[in-house]
């Protein structure tokens, strides 16, 4: 105890103060988002400074979830256009879930082949793959959009996930790096038991690599969850509209000159909620993942 006490200096207090202010600035906008979502639209002009709304209500959440009638939604400040954030939430989950699961699997397979299997041209193929890191997304977005359009895949999940579901150079690079560090002895035993490459990969290497696999899976989930431009181009229609795209469209459908702030904040809160759950469940893992990949 005494040791800790001697450490309480003005400098330390100042440092803690700065840290607490930083935390406050980080978290407060989210509080204000929820606070606004709980405010009736009619109160926005009279009640926009208090920490708690004067007449808290769930109506904004209900109307953006499509759980109210059109008249009720309009009375609460909506534009009358059909919105169903429950659907968009589900689309977002499908979109990021598909990309994260499949990309992780396929990139692990490729990373394993590059790290462990011997075949002619291995280093050359790997080099070409990694060179794709140099090409910025916007550059491939234009022709990829044309390709997906020509394939008739616009407004389908197939078209939306196609460019990222099979591989990203970074994930292949990252997983290969990890597989290289697994001692060969582990596989030797399996080889002697007559297990083939697929068996070794699936039953020896994959279970040993849970950490890096979860890391790549998580960062890919977050990346896909935040994604906006590609789903905006390829999935605007109701049946494939993800949350980010829905928020953009909702913003433009405002009935008055002012945006429908209370509805927008309710929709925004919904886009934060699943990520927050992820953080609460996997907080330590996520924070550690970050130290691990560093560059995504």
């Amino acid at each position: 105890m005494t040791r800790i006490r001697t450490k309480v200096s003005p400098g330390r207090i100042a440092a803690w103060t700065v840290l607490v202010i930083a935390l406050f600035v980080t978290v407060f906008p989210f509080y204000w988002m929820v606070r606004t979502a709980l405010t009736p639209a009619a109160d926005l002009y009279t009640d926009s400074t208090g920490l708690v709304p004067d007449h808290p209500t769930m109506i904004n959440f209900l109307r953006v979830l499509g759980l109210t009638s059109q008249e009720e939604a309009q009375a609460a400040g909506g534009s009358g256009a059909h919105v169903d954030f429950l659907r968009y939430l589900l689309n977002s989950v499908v979109y990021s879930g598909l990309i994260a699961a499949l990309q992780t699997l396929f990139c692990a397979m490729a990373g394993y082949a590059f790290a462990r299997l011997r075949f002619p041209g291995r280093d050359a193929v790997f080099g070409v793959l990694i060179a794709a890191l140099m090409v910025p997304p916007i550059f491939t977005v234009l022709p990829n959009f044309v390709l997906v359009k020509n394939l008739g895949w616009l407004n389908t999940f197939t078209g939306m996930v196609a460019p990222s579901v099979l591989m990203t150079p970074f994930a292949v690079f990252f997983l290969r790096q990890f597989f290289l560090s697994i001692p060969r002895d582990v596989e030797e035993a399996a080889v002697l038991d007559g297990v083939g490459a697929w068996g070794i990969f699936w039953r020896v290497v994959m279970p040993m690599s849970r950490g890096p696999l979860i890391t790549i899976g998580l960062t890919t989930t977050v990346w896909a969850w935040k994604d906006y431009l590609w789903p905006l181009l390829t999935g605007r229609e109701e049946q494939t509209r993800v949350l980010t795209v829905a928020l953009g469209i909702f913003q433009q459908q405002s009935p008055n000159t002012q945006p429908d702030w209370t509805g927008l904040m309710a929709g925004s809160a919904l886009s934060v909620l699943p990520v927050l759950v992820l953080l609460i469940v996997l907080g330590r893992r996520l924070v550690e993942s970050l130290n691990f990949t560093g560059m995504k």
Binding site: L117, F119, T140, L142, N144, V146, D227, Q251, R284, V287
Partner: protein, 317 residues
């Protein structure tokens, strides 16, 4: 993860020889590798060919055509590039992007360094680190909307506070002078925590005893920071800097939601300009030419990044 998406086939090389004769066994295994390797690589290679290699070639080709998305592309040679040289909007986009990158990277790096140092010297709390990560986890679209609301000229909380302090109100996103600094500040808010955590992770690599002996020698915090933390953090710091630099060149979402390039082109960054040319005006050929220029810029930066990546890996190994 993904276990439901693939069914493991029966062992392909079930008849592999048991250890008795090592030399033939090795040869046998090498031959098996080849087939297995291409099977393992098949999905990634298809993905690479279809959505990375082919579009890259295609993109360069489009940049030499007058493609408008509707009719077939007609070859026009270097016309798009010639037009680009005389296009004020293009140069403005480059300038505005540069302005944003400097503002954003400057504020973000300084603040992140401060935050990381404070965490490093004060606490190991995972909860605190997790909280700092929240803005990074949230879609940029959400971040843009929340700040549009907080900074709204009429009803926004920030203007209410400024008003109460007697500082008057500002239309942050609607003023040509304020729009870009505001976008930069919003993205600094969104990414500083993330950057700070990367730097913090780098600081954990610095041996603790260096600080202890420096403290015994009577060194203050500032001296420790400039003489120990900063020099030893340099490889990590350089890497983080280049990665954020490449990232901030590609700012799009925040602009698309908040200012849409306005007011009067003050925030029409290069990424947004390409998007507008391609999908609002259907100048796919011209947009591709601008994208080629951006690709060259980012390619150079990425090459630097890959070099640093190798350098920092060997440093820590």
């Amino acid at each position: 993860m993904g276990a439901d998406t693939a069914v493991a086939p029966p062992h392909e090389s079930a008849g592999a020889p048991l250890g008795k004769a090592p030399a033939p066994g090795r040869q046998r295994r090498r031959r098996d590798d080849r087939r297995a390797a291409w099977l393992f690589l098949a999905p990634a290679l298809v993905g690479f060919a279809l959505f990375y290699a082919y579009p890259t070639v295609r993109g360069v080709y489009y940049s030499l055509t007058d493609y408008n998305l509707l009719s077939t592309p007609g070859f026009v040679g270097a016309d798009n590039y010639r037009r680009l040289i005389g296009d004020e909007q293009f140069w403005n986009a480059l300038k505005v992007t540069g302005y944003y990158v400097v503002l954003n990277i400057g504020s973000q790096t300084v603040l992140a360094l401060l935050l990381a140092t404070l965490m490093h010297r004060l606490t190991r709390s995972v909860a605190l680190r997790a909280m700092l990560l929240v803005p990074w986890l949230v879609p940029n679209v959400t971040v843009g909307l929340v700040w549009m609301w907080l900074l709204d000229a009429n009803l926004g909380l920030v203007n209410h506070v400024l008003n109460a302090l007697g500082l008057g109100t500002t239309g942050f996103f609607t003023s040509p002078d304020w729009a870009m600094p505001t976008v930069a500040a919003v993205n600094t808010w969104a990414y500083t925590g993330y950057t700070a955590l990367l730097l913090y992770a780098g600081m954990l690599q610095v041996p603790q005893y260096l600080y202890e002996s420096a403290a015994l020698d009577g060194a203050g915090e500032w001296r420790m920071f400039t003489r120990i933390t900063l020099p030893l953090l340099r490889p990590v710091l350089a890497l983080v800097l280049v990665v954020s630099l490449i990232g901030s060149f590609q700012i799009f979402d925040t602009i698309a939601v908040t200012t849409k390039g306005g007011p009067v082109s003050a925030t029409r960054v290069i990424y947004f300009y390409i998007y507008e040319q391609a999908f609002n005006y259907f100048h796919m050929g011209y947009a591709s030419a601008v994208a080629v220029v951006l690709a060259v810029i980012l390619g150079v930066l990425t090459a630097v990044q890959i070099r640093l990546l190798r350098a920092s890996r060997s440093d820590l190994a």
